[in-house]
């Protein structure tokens, strides 16, 4: 299957007073229609910056310094997003790439009704008549299972619950029928029951709208529930990528292993919960060699000197480690 969005060698740096902090250090992945890719990692590993880089919305002083993001077009060859002028990129945002943010509390403008905000999402790209827009808005609100959309249309964000707000954000992201949906921690601010429903909603809409989804999260439960493939990020690189089932069953990178072990399981006799040793180093002091080696239980001499090249350890299972687990 042809990928809808293909990312390769993406590097995004933050330059602060002549120091360069490399937040994303060469990331490759691709998104396919009707599939969800999970991007997981601890705080500060570069997940969100990667997502924002795809939209070319990296906040200053961040800058995309290298790489390519190619969007498949139905007619003609793929479109390189990183070299588009800003005015053309604006037409891609919202129409080809939709995005959902973490905080449904602050992602809606407090002074407009939710109907007006969904309507604005449509009107940025399509000059439709008043009535047609309103019908489409109510249709979208119904698609995201917002109860009673006709009267909710006139509610302000502060009158909705967190889950309802996130539904509205999804409706806004879907307003122009994008090919790719980027969801940055869409359920982190919600409680667990609402979380499951929102994830289910995203999956259903993905199938209905035939979208590719990038799901950014730090929650392995979310990954298990909602993705087909996973990419694990550590310090700005994807250290392991595999089909979700395979990754959970047979992780090859010691870091992935550590993450999986740090999830508590009911009914398991264990005195202490295993955690990944140490803390994430700051971006200004990325260790030489394999960047994970100071925290790695399997690190050897070579890990201190050389950064590992990506290798295949199974079908569609790629890992960057000198001593992968079997």
């Amino acid at each position: 299957m042809n990928p809808v969005l293909e990312v390769s060698g993406l590097r995004t740096h933050f330059g602060i007073e002549k120091r360069v902090l490399p937040a994303v250090r060469g990331v490759d992945f691709s998104l396919s229609r009707g599939r969800t890719l999970g991007l997981v990692g601890e705080s500060g590993c570069g997940k969100t910056v990667t997502a924002l880089s795809l939209m070319r919305l990296v906040p200053r002083p961040g800058r995309i310094v290298a790489g390519s993001v190619r969007l498949d077009r139905s007619g003609g060859g793929p479109l390189e997003l990183l070299s588009l002028p800003e005015s053309r990129m604006r037409r891609i945002r919202g129409r080809e790439l939709g995005m959902i943010f973490q905080e449904p509390m602050t992602s809606l403008n407090p002074v407009f009704t939710i109907g007006e905000q969904v309507r604005e999402a449509i009107r940025v790209h399509e000059p439709l008549g008043k009535k047609a827009v309103r019908e489409r808005v109510i249709g979208l609100l119904r698609d995201v299972n917002l109860p009673d959309p006709e009267s909710r249309y006139f509610d302000y964000p502060h009158q909705l619950s967190g889950g309802q707000r996130q539904r509205v954000m999804i409706a806004i992201a879907l307003a122009c029928n994008p090919k790719v949906l980027i969801a940055d921690e869409p359920t982190t601010a919600l409680d667990v029951t609402v979380q499951a429903r929102i994830l289910g909603l995203i999956s259903r809409l993905r199938d209905r709208y035939e979208m590719a989804v990038l799901l950014v999260t730090h929650d392995l439960g979310v990954v298990a529930q909602a993705t087909e493939r996973v990419a694990v990020m550590y310090l700005g690189r994807i250290v392991e990528a595999a089909a979700t089932r395979r990754l959970f069953k047979a992780p090859a990178h010691p870091y992935t292993r550590g993450l999986l072990d740090s999830v508590p399981r009911l009914g398991e006799e264990k005195r202490r919960l295993a955690a990944v040793r140490g803390a994430v180093p700051t971006l200004s002091r990325i260790p030489a060699g394999c960047s994970f080696h100071p925290r790695c239980p399997r690190a050897g001499e070579v890990c201190r000197r050389e950064s590992p090249a990506p290798r295949e350890v199974g079908e569609g299972h790629r890992v960057e480690c000198h001593f992968p687990l079997e």
């Binding site: 604006r90 403008n109 002074v111 019908e135 006709e150 806004i172």
Partner: protein, 303 residues
């Protein structure tokens, strides 16, 4: 599927919200009354005569023929007050509209874009602000006095009262600009602005449709407070003999009263003061109500 036809527009519902408050509605009525009095002179209808001098009638206390009494030349104080309203409102309106537009536009540009645009605008208003206010207004008024300029092919000559209003407007935008700049910086970093950018909104659209509605209540309250302060400024300048000349204004009336009070002639001072008092009070109340009405989170609350 039937969508309700009644449009619940942001501005309409804000307006309805404001008028639900009795004090605000009464204030609006008073403000409209002042505006009507100010516009009276432009309708061509007969206005009260303030020019006829009658020395036999000098310093008459309030009576049926002259409800507010007469001044040293025997002119009707009520007529002078009415004419003064026209002067005060036109000065304040010109000045506050000018200040509002300049302050809002520059504040939004500086706050949203930052960088050298921000530096330039900040430098501009810091410089203006470092000059003592009265001095600055006088300097502007003197420079603008008796200039002619052409606008859309028509030639205009700036005279007395116009110079005062332009000077007030060209110097009065600083406070609003600072305020809006700060708010724009705050809102620029909010997630909903990022979300709107992720939808493909252009910078212009972001400023007008996302940030402006979140800061406009500040502009409204500054407008109504500014209106009051420009009325006061006109009074002060006229009192100092630097503003309006040859026609009545509230400031000129108060200036006259300096020589009247020790004779027990209080009505001219009282008339001008009352006129200033009621417009100040109602503008404050109304501005406050509008501010509350524009913020959906405060709607429906009564204090």
């Amino acid at each position: 599927m039937t969508a309700p036809e009644k449009s619940r527009n942001y501005w309409l519902s804000a307006g309805r919200e404001v008028l639900r408050r009795p004090r605000a509605a009464v204030s609006l009525a008073v403000i409209l009354f002042y505006l009507a009095v100010a516009l009276w002179g432009f309708t061509g209808w007969k206005t009260p005569d303030w020019e006829t001098e009658n020395f036999e009638m000098a310093y008459r206390p309030p009576s049926r023929a002259h409800p507010f009494g007469t001044d040293i030349y025997g002119r009707d104080v009520l007529a002078k007050t009415v004419y003064g309203t026209r002067v005060a409102v036109s000065v304040a309106l010109t000045a506050s509209v000018l200040a509002l537009v300049i302050g809002l536009v520059l504040g939004l540009l500086a706050g949203y874009f930052g960088g050298w645009i921000d530096d330039l605008i900040t430098w501009l208003f810091s410089t203006l602000q470092s000059i003592p206010y009265i001095l600055l207004i006088l300097a502007f008024a003197f420079v603008l006095q008796d200039r002619t300029f052409t606008l859309f092919g028509a030639e205009f000559r700036i005279r007395g009262i116009n110079a005062v209003s332009l000077a007030l407007g060209l110097t009065g935008w600083v406070g609003l600009c600072r305020l809006i700049r700060g708010e724009a910086i705050k809102h620029r970093e909010r997630e909903y602005v990022l979300a709107a950018r992720a939808l493909g909104s252009s910078p212009g659209r972001l400023i007008v449709r996302q940030i402006l509605p979140n800061v406009v209540h500040l502009a409204v309250i500054t407008f109504s407070l500014g209106f009051v302060s420009y009325i006061h400024a006109e009074v002060i300048l006229s009192f100092l003999g630097l503003g309006v000349k040859h026609v009545p204004s509230w400031g000129v009336m108060i200036d006259d009263a300096k020589l009247e009070l020790f004779r027990g002639v209080w009505w001219q001072l009282a008339a001008a003061t009352a006129a200033i008092f009621f417009i100040s009070l109602t503008l404050h109340i109304f501005g406050d109500a509008v501010r509350d009405g524009l913020d959906p989170r405060l709607r429906g609350e009564r204090r």
